[in-house]
């Protein structure tokens, strides 16, 4: 299963590398959102200090919607989904592979965004380990839930509009947990970020389990 998952992840990442969509479209979009938030909050430094974590993760969620839509589109064009089924790859492995590929892309965007909040919002990173761990755990949670939701809307005409409606409410705990943990890592609010990280880890495990169990059913249906 692990070997299959790595194969699927490598395939998706290779497609992304060749199309350069992440570099040429997604990263500029993420940067643009950060700049627009700065304008919207009147470049008010105290307000930005308080809102940095939330703005960071809201931007990541926007980017995640784009990444999941791309990941789903790869399988829906040219009957690739059926080819995957015929290839005998375990659906759980397909899910893990696709979620891994989305995670890698999101982590790359988050790296750029972290630079963005340091430069544009003057954020200081007090706890780099907490910040990095939060990014990894929250990103896996977003990618797992997003990949499952992507499979849910695969092949339907209104998938672009339905996907955010499905994804965002389910990801509300990630936004809460990751924002609070970031608040601690950036030293903007006195909270225990590690306990929030534990909650995030629980959410991540639940969504990976749901994905592995349900992805096969959806892959055959859609």
């Amino acid at each position: 299963m692990l070997a299959d998952a790595i194969l699927v992840a490598a395939k998706d990442l290779r497609i992304e590398m060749r199309s350069r969509v992440t570099v040429s479209q997604v990263v500029p979009f993420a940067g643009l959102v950060l700049v627009l938030f700065g304008f919207a909050l009147d470049a008010n430094r105290p307000t930005l200090d308080l809102a940095t974590s939330g703005l960071f993760w809201v931007t990541v969620l926007f980017v995640a919607i784009m990444a999941v839509q791309r990941s789903t589109a790869i399988e829906t064009t040219d009957g690739a989904r059926r080819a995957l089924l015929l290839a005998g790859v375990e659906p759980g492995a397909v899910f893990m592979g696709k979620a891994t590929a989305v995670s890698v892309q999101l982590l790359a965007v988050e790296l750029v965004l972290t630079g963005g909040i340091v430069v544009l919002y003057d954020a200081s990173i007090d706890e780099p380990l907490l910040l990095a761990t939060t990014c990894i755990v929250a990103t896996i949670a977003i990618a797992a839930a997003g990949t499952l939701m992507g499979a849910l809307v695969a092949g339907v005409r209104a998938r672009e509009t339905v996907l955010p409606i499905l994804m965002l409410p389910v990801l509300a705990p990630v936004l809460l947990g990751a924002t609070r943990a970031f608040d601690d890592a950036l030293g903007s609010v006195a909270v225990n970020g590690w306990s929030w990280l534990a909650m995030l880890a629980g959410f991540t495990i639940i969504n990976i389990a749901l994905g592995v169990l349900a992805y096969g059913v959806l892959l055959e249906e859609t």
């Binding site: 849910l152 809307v153 409606i165 409410p169 389910v170 705990p173 809460l176 909650m199 959410f203 969504n207």
Partner: protein, 262 residues
């Protein structure tokens, strides 16, 4: 003289979704609603702290409880569809989700109206139950969005069932995360039923409200179930008619010049 399929289907189709049971439930619901209004405004006493605003409890609490009943039915129906491919349970899940979203919306609406005089605000972000209910509402709106998609009925049912289960499984996590998030003391009072503050006519009226809204919910669920069932039958009927027509066409052959021949 032969009877066409359309004539036969008209002859056997039910004229509505009503029955003796739904008529009785409907009449009981209307009488109960009138009695509940009379009890709420003229019989039940006002509260020492909340004054007349407490009367909202007779609508808000039953609706909140029935919202969770409806969404639990959706989750159970979703599992039954994925496990047994039971069309009956899938239809129950769909109907319960629609009724549940309506009750959930009304719970949020009546809660906001109640919150204004008692908390001095329509919305409190620090309140766990309020925020959790809102997220549940949004997840189930997503469920209905999936249900409204075009496509094969069984495929849509499977997609919706996964959403129904994801919503149910994630709800404890949402509740826990919002509990931790709301570091301020919550404004929401504890459970109206379990905190023991309600007694006498106030408790009786609230329980009566629960009974009345349960009857109304049952009436809605039965009608919605029958509508969905008929919709599915119509869809399947159309498919069988189309298959018969295609098979009839297939019996007509084509010669080497592309001309049709029997």
């Amino acid at each position: 003289m032969t009877t066409s399929m359309a004539d036969r289907s008209t002859a056997t189709s039910p004229r509505g979704t009503g029955s003796r049971t739904t008529q009785l439930l409907g009449i009981a619901g209307i009488i109960g609603l009138v009695a509940l209004i009379l009890l709420s405004f003229f019989v039940a006493p006002s509260d020492d702290d909340q004054h007349d605003a407490v009367r909202m409890i007779f609508i808000h609490v039953p609706m909140a409880m029935l919202t969770y009943v409806a969404f639990s039915l959706t989750a159970i129906g979703s599992v039954a569809w994925l496990w047994k491919r039971s069309i009956w349970w899938d239809t129950v899940a769909h109907g319960a989700a629609e009724v549940g979203v309506m009750f959930c919306g009304l719970t949020l609406f009546t809660g906001s109206i109640w919150g204004r005089p008692t908390w001095n605000t329509y919305w409190d972000w620090g309140d766990v139950r309020l925020v959790t209910t809102l997220i549940l509402f949004l997840v189930m709106v997503g469920y209905l969005a999936v249900r409204s998609l075009d496509g094969d009925t069984d495929s849509i049912a499977t997609r919706a069932a996964v959403i129904g289960i994801i919503g149910a499984v994630n709800m404890p996590v949402v509740n826990r995360s919002v509990t931790w998030w709301s570091s301020r003391r919550t404004l929401h009072q504890k459970s109206s039923l379990t905190d023991g503050n309600l007694e006498g006519l106030t408790l009786f009226t609230m329980m009566f409200g629960l009974l009345v809204f349960s009857i109304i919910m049952a009436w809605m669920l039965i009608h919605r179930f029958r509508i969905s069932w008929l919709e599915r039958q119509v869809g399947e009927g159309d498919l069988s008619e189309a298959l018969v027509a295609r098979r009839a066409e297939a019996k007509v052959g084509f010669d080497a010049h592309g001309r049709t021949s029997k």
